[in-house]
């Protein structure tokens, strides 16, 4: 089990030429992730979700201060353990397509990822991971700029899965994709969870997260408001504890209460 206990993050920065100050980005962030589940973290852009992902794999920017605890399978997940497990057990699917090296062919990047994760035959592992996502032959050999958005997302996914990591942190893995590709990526994540991996799905899109998630944590203004089973997002959201989560749920266009709920959400945002 992967646990985040009361994680807090501060940024240190200059104001003007001389004074420095700390800005709190995250506070009281807590959640758990178990094997075999898709746990969605839903919140507006800029709420600090990506920072939480970086804190999990231990790659925060240099000017941040971290407090709180991380645990993995009953043992503290400190910096040394994070470094040892990165790629092998903890894998990140980054949000930005800029994470692909534009000067390296896709299949080589996937092979590198497999090699870094300690795969015995990185090339074969890469081919396998790419083939699973429908990237074969020429399309796997292209440079990133020659790939469509959907293909690039799948390459990123292949890089995360090539090493057979147990814990996947997917940071907005379906952003900017058309419905068909988006569903393809989400279904693949569901399959990975069904195969026994723990998937943390970070997204701003509650509706699509609910398609595959077992549990949902609502994130707002740098903190986790509540964690609820996906089933709680039902009806008018009576099963939800926080007003914000309820507003988020009711703001979805599918729900009858779209109009008033949207105003309610704006109030909180």
């Amino acid at each position: 089990m992967l646990e985040i206990r009361q994680l807090a993050l501060d940024f240190l920065c200059y104001r003007g030429l001389w004074h420095s100050e700390t800005i709190a980005c995250l506070h009281d962030v807590s959640l758990t992730l178990t094997r075999g589940e898709v746990h969605a973290v839903v919140g507006a852009s800029g709420a600090g979700k990506s920072l939480m992902a970086q804190a999990l794999i231990g790659l925060l920017p240099g000017n941040t201060r971290r407090r709180g605890e991380l645990w993995l399978d009953g043992e503290p997940l400190d910096a040394a353990r994070q470094a040892a497990l990165r790629g092998q057990q903890l894998a990140l699917i980054p949000q930005s397509l800029a994470a692909l090296d534009p000067l390296v062919r896709s299949h080589r990047q996937v092979a590198w990822a497999a090699q870094r994760a300690g795969a015995a035959a990185p090339r074969a592992a890469a081919e396998r991971a790419l083939a699973e996502l429908g990237l074969v032959g020429d399309s796997a050999r292209r440079y990133p700029h020659q790939l469509s958005g959907g293909m690039a997302r799948r390459v990123l996914l292949a890089m995360a899965t090539a090493g057979d990591a147990e814990w996947l942190i997917a940071d907005e893995p379906s952003v900017g994709l058309d419905p068909r590709h988006r569903d393809g990526v989400l279904d693949q994540l569901r399959r990975l969870a069904d195969a026994g991996k723990g998937v943390l799905l970070i997204t701003h899109d509650l509706r699509h997260a609910l398609r595959i998630a077992d549990r949902v944590t609502v994130f707002h203004a740098g903190t986790t408001l509540e964690t609820a089973p996906a089933g709680a997002f039902h009806g008018r959201g009576e099963a939800l504890a926080s007003d914000y989560a309820r507003a988020l749920w009711r703001a979805l266009p599918d729900n009858d209460f779209a109009r008033p709920a949207a105003q309610e959400a704006a109030q909180f945002a």
Partner: protein, 285 residues
Amino acid sequence: MSGAAQAKTSRLVLRSNPRLGLALGALALLVALVALLIAQPTLAERATASDFQARLQAPVTDHWFGTDVLGRDLLARTLQGLTLSLWVGTAAALLGTLVALGLAALACLGPRADVAVGLLVDSVLGLPHLILLILIAFALGGGTQAVIIAVALTHWPSLTRVLRAELLQLRQADYVRLSRRFGKSRGYIIRHHLLPALLPHCLVGGLLLFPHAILHEATLTFLGFGLSPGQPAIGVLLAESLRYLSAGYWWLGVFPGLGLLLLVLAFDRLGNALRRLLPPREAQQ
């Protein structure tokens, strides 16, 4: 997010501010320069007083840097040379900055002027600096003025590029357009919007020109195109030292160059540290 995030301002103790180092360094440099100016009359006397009893002496307590072939104190001569370099460098950097500012403003007048200035920049960059320096110094017949003009005329291109880009961007900036829309005069816009934005760039750009100017002054003089052999310029001292090196009079070649290196290094570091305080766009050059 901004509403909910707790912004906590904490004024750190001065000691823990990394920018304190910069301020202290600048202060130390200033003190050293003022000391050099105050010591000028004594130095001038010592630098020219020859003592044939003490010719080509290795560094001793009386003469920290040793003495030259006429028994003159090398420390005094080095400091004199550095003072000369400072004056030449200041004048050349000032002149170069003015040229850069003028050409940048010219480039913003219209597309044709822009192309012309671009071509001029390319042409100057297309000729090795040193060749251009020699050509200009040759045309002006040598001497302090020639060196200043030559150095100034070779060092404007990079700053011109920076200032031109900045000016073009400023002209399109919303607040400048708005000001124009409100019917403010050209002079008002230049005084209130353009100059305040450009001034830091000119200052830092000029400060960064300065070490280059000093280096090139010394280089030109070393090759024999610059200041006359009678003046105790660093380039002259080092060119003279060449004749005595193989005989083992090492201090003649080592110390003047070391002084020059320290001066250039100090100003280079200062300029670069200041440049880093400018907005990041310009810091990339």
